[in-house]
Symmetry: C2
Subunit: 354 residues, 2 copies
């Protein structure tokens, strides 16, 4: 593995000294960029874009050409695994992801089996290899997956963002069935992330988008256990270089102490958690990634610079902070505000790293 020209992001995740606070942005290759929309319309759809390694490479690199970001992230979707399992991922216009064949019958669940990524999701590992080649060791590449609980939510409900009543009814009444889904998806996530690491990913992130919909107790039982299992099964080093893991449970601010026990090197924070409080709670055990409210990017550079200053001051001195939003960037974000954000983080952060 060649030395990366900029590994500030990886070192910050591992709480090693860095000259400044690195930044990347969730959904940085997305609809707020005109060049992304152009490529996407050439591809025909979001899914075609994900499934075409050349185009996925093109859009992964687009934000890096505009902004001085400290990491690239694989362009893909969190729901590739259930799609590979045959549930039929699709995107209705103006709505989130959906499945054509959600899990409604016990028989469907008993027939589920873990995916083999280099076979069923080769378009993803091909994209990782292609992006790594295009990056030419300039920046680290982040691989990612949805968490088993979050995947199970979509697989059972057929869509996201609901009250997850079907999911919870199954979890509470038929924990045997629900655990079967979680076990198969956990095994798949492990194989999938390890395949991304083998293909060249320098760090991996697990998006537990819906974990925050659970009670504290159910979260430990139905999401955290699987996150821990995954972290303990991921490739730790490649050629002597540690592959850091980031776990992000949206709405999980109350459970940071527990999440710090999963084996994650760093935790993603949504914007509802005060970063100073978060660091005092877990900052001696894990790095923190976040956590500006994406709505700030809809304002103007003055407001952005002030907010960046408050988040950097909130985290305080020393390493262990990767700047990011608390959720994906909005499609209505003016790209010049992203430029202002990246510059503000790079301009203001060196004073905290002396």
């Amino acid at each position: 593995m060649a030395q990366l020209q900029n590994d500030v992001f990886l070192r910050a995740l591992l709480r090693q000294p860095t000259p400044y606070t690195p930044i990347w942005i969730m959904r940085q290759a997305g609809r707020y960029l005109p060049e992304y929309n152009k490529t996407r319309s050439q591809a025909g759809s979001f899914l075609s874009l994900c499934k075409n390694p050349d185009l996925a490479t093109e859009v992964t690199l687009q934000p890096l050409a505009r902004f001085n970001l400290d990491a690239a992230i694989l362009f893909s979707d969190i729901l590739t695994i259930p799609d590979a399992m045959g549930l039929g991922l699709y995107f209705a216009d103006g709505e989130g992801p959906k499945f054509e064949r959600p899990l409604r019958e016990e028989k469907q669940i008993q027939l589920l089996s873990a995916i083999e990524p280099e076979d069923q999701l080769k378009y993803v590992t091909d994209a990782v290899r292609s992006i790594k080649s295009a990056l030419a060791d300039r920046l680290p590449l982040i691989g990612f997956s949805g968490s088993p609980f979050t995947l199970a939510c979509y697989m059972i409900e057929g869509k996201g963002g609901t009250d997850f009543h079907r999911v919870k009814k199954m979890a509470y009444e038929r924990p045997d069935l629900f655990n079967k889904i979680l076990q198969v998806t956990s095994a798949s996530v492990i194989a999938y992330l390890n395949a991304q690491i083998s293909a060249g990913a320098d760090a991996v992130m697990i998006f537990d988008t819906w974990g925050g919909s659970l009670t504290s107790k159910a979260f430990k039982q139905f999401s955290q256990n699987n996150l821990t299992q995954i972290c303990s099964s991921l490739t730790r080093e490649v050629d002597g270089t540690v592959i850091p893991r980031v776990v992000f449970t949206k709405g999980g601010g109350q459970w940071l102490e527990s999440l710090a026990e999963t084996g994650a090197d760093a935790l993603g924070l949504d914007w509802s958690t005060d970063i100073a409080t978060a660091r005092s709670r877990v900052g001696d055990r894990v790095g923190l990634q976040g956590n500006m409210d994406p709505a700030i990017l809809l304002t103007n550079p003055d407001v952005i610079q002030k907010e960046v200053g408050e988040i950097l001051m909130g985290f305080g001195e020393g390493s262990g902070h990767v700047f990011n939003l608390g959720h994906g960037v909005s499609q209505f974000t003016p790209p010049e505000n992203v430029l202002a954000l990246v510059e503000a983080v790079h301009d203001q952060s060196p004073r905290y790293h002396r």
Copy 2:
């Protein structure tokens, strides 16, 4: 004011000794009850039901006829205030509440003025008087309002449940305008809740449904300040009897210590917060109301009884707990499960009140 036959709910809110843990259920008069659906279809719509004091009385009493609940809650909507301000509340089929004329122009905002409840929302105070008369002092009646921030969310976005980007853009870029909306709605909420108290409400609850969408800092600035202002301006006693106030910020589990400073007698908890942890954080200062996941009511009496046992044990011995769900009851709940819940709370709780 005549003595209530059952004031266990009011005493629990004030952390006074009670023989058992009282229970009521958010949205207890709702679509899971066939008799409610019948009355609602007679009324023609949800809003017609709210605006007809006789029918509002009828549906308020329906769950009390079925279940041994410890409080009644006024049947109404949290958005009556902006409707009275002229924004045009309506309900599209299968969707949440919406406004025909959301606040989009500065001029609209400058023209807003506080409502006069006995004039513009007389149908609500009439309903309170009618329900009080029908209850004949058997049980306490809860009055309620949306919080100023939550009302502002609907007023600006025109609907709920979004990412509130319009709201936040205004809050961050034009705090003067946003505060104007908050001030007018705060003054309205104070007048509205005091009018409900004058009409006979024995306790009041403020629903801060969307406060959890804010950052910690923005929550204090744009929601908590107004909650504090409201609590300090509410009628404290009627004929020597204290009128307790409950503040419920959904998604506000990280801010309980701050919320305990608002002047609320009790805090509502959603299901994401562990009630044992919540009590250890704030239980010597306020009562707690909650917090079973509504999805538990979709299962069966065995699961319900077990979950009730865990929540009661979580709160532990002594007074200060009102059992409730962590959010409104689902329309898909079998009424017999609500019966099992109410019985489980009354059966299992006396051991914690010796």
